[in-house]
């Protein structure tokens, strides 16, 4: 039997590598078999650790060059690069957009303010400030026809008869007079537009204006259309009407309901 048991190979190997404790080292080195085994494993380690033939410089260059050639931009720098390109693209787009807007404003704004160039473009805030803050005059100048702009009117909707329509219009014009005091040439607000900035009168303004032109204020037939405004339209069972408001010889307001089909005066009331 072996009276000098061989220390565990793991212990011997750890001693060889300097990874054993002092006690473990003493155990191994205190045993003849341990010392023999230590030398055996040391020899093995030396063989494994024998330097391999080095690569030639040419081979190293070839290997490294190929690897470097495969290198892509690092994600950090790549992301940075992409981010940079994105910002540049965005900035370029913004510049182009601003330039386009500026060109549009320059091309439209001065013309809109020009006395001899008509334009339907809306003035910008800057234009309004530059023109004294009023947009009424440019809007009037922008009208493509020489005919006067007819004010938008309230749509009274279906009404049973002309008198009722005039009563409704009277109430409306009474409420409107105060509003008109500060914006004489602005479109008259209506009952519906008081609830909604873009009410039924906005939508129907075009047809009403055409109808107004089709059936001018009644005094026009009398040779004096000055001071008459269309204030409302309504739909009677017999057809559409327009309510004109104009001056009464006594100085009071006068409302006239005109049939838009026949241009006949259906009713009138002095408020």
């Amino acid at each position: 039997m072996n009276e000098d048991p061989r220390p565990d190979d793991e212990l011997v190997s750890a001693v060889l590598d300097g990874e054993a404790t002092l006690e473990e080292r003493a155990l191994v080195e205190g045993s003849a078999e341990g010392r023999r085994r230590l030398e055996s494993l040391r020899s093995v380690a030396a063989q494994v650790g024998h330097p391999v033939p080095p690569l030639s410089d040419a081979t190293i260059t070839r290997l490294v060059d190929r690897a470097v050639a495969e290198a892509q931009p690092a994600p950090s720098s790549g992301r940075s690069g992409r981010r940079w390109r994105t910002w540049v693209a965005a900035a370029a787009a913004a510049v182009v957009l601003l330039g386009a807007v500026a060109a549009l404003v320059r091309g439209v704004g001065p013309a809109g303010r020009s006395d001899d160039t008509a334009s339907s473009a809306s003035p910008t805030v800057a234009d309004r400030e530059a023109s004294g803050g009023s947009i009424a005059a440019p809007a009037a100048e922008a009208t493509p026809t020489p005919e006067p702009v007819l004010p938008r009117v309230a749509d009274l909707g279906p009404q049973p008869d002309a008198t009722t329509a005039l009563d409704q219009a009277l109430v409306l014009t009474g409420a409107r007079s105060g509003a008109n005091a500060s914006a004489s040439s602005s479109p008259a607000p209506s009952a519906s537009s008081a609830e909604s900035p873009l009410g039924a009168d906005e939508a129907g303004a075009g047809s009403v204006a055409a109808d107004q032109k089709a059936c001018p204020p009644p005094d026009e037939a009398l040779g004096d259309a000055a001071g008459w405004d269309a204030v409302a339209t309504a739909e009677l069972p017999t057809g559409p009407i327009v309510v004109w408001r104009g001056p009464d010889p006594t100085g009071a307001a006068r409302l006239v309901a005109v049939d838009l089909t026949t241009c006949a005066v259906l009713a009138h009331r002095t408020g």
Partner: protein
Amino acid sequence: MSDPPPTHHERRALGRRDDTELLRAAQGGDRTALDALLRAHVDQVHALCRRLCGNEDDAEDATQDALLAVVRGLPRFDGRSAFSTWVHRIATNTCLDQLRRRSRRPHVVRSIGAPDRDHPAGAAAALEPADGHPGPDQRVPERLAIDEALAALPEEFRVAVVLRDQLGLDYAEIAEVLGVPPGTVRSRIARGRARLAQLLEPVTDGNRSAGGDVQGDRR
């Protein structure tokens, strides 16, 4: 008889700072720095691959693959481990992949005296398949013998022994490279060496019975 090469430790001490600077520059897209960084590690990668693969052709292929993997993975390297540790891990995995691919190819048994790239003068003995014992011919050069003996080791033992004895990594570093506890590293190295001692008996030790078992890890 010589101690494990200290070159790794020396290079590690001197090169860690350089690695950091080169690494930062390389990650920033500096190809010159990348070139220098790879050159600083290519010898170690090659040595590891040479010992793991067992022949120069496969070692060069594996070295190339490892360098490519390093380059491709460089942007993702976050510095949680030493760069050299990370490179060793990549190289180890690359070499093992290479070995697995090679193992699926038909095994070539060289005949006595047949020259090859690693041994242009010709091997002095028939080299048996990796799972066999080295040839008994006492004239087999030591370098040949160690390649064959390493090839006969289970993969996990071979890697641990090579990382320790060829690259000079300590147990903690090997544990980090392999992602196993240091105790496992200690066990694998000991078992690998014992097996090698057995396989290399004609060269190193007359006591063939000293090898012990090589089955499994003791953790």
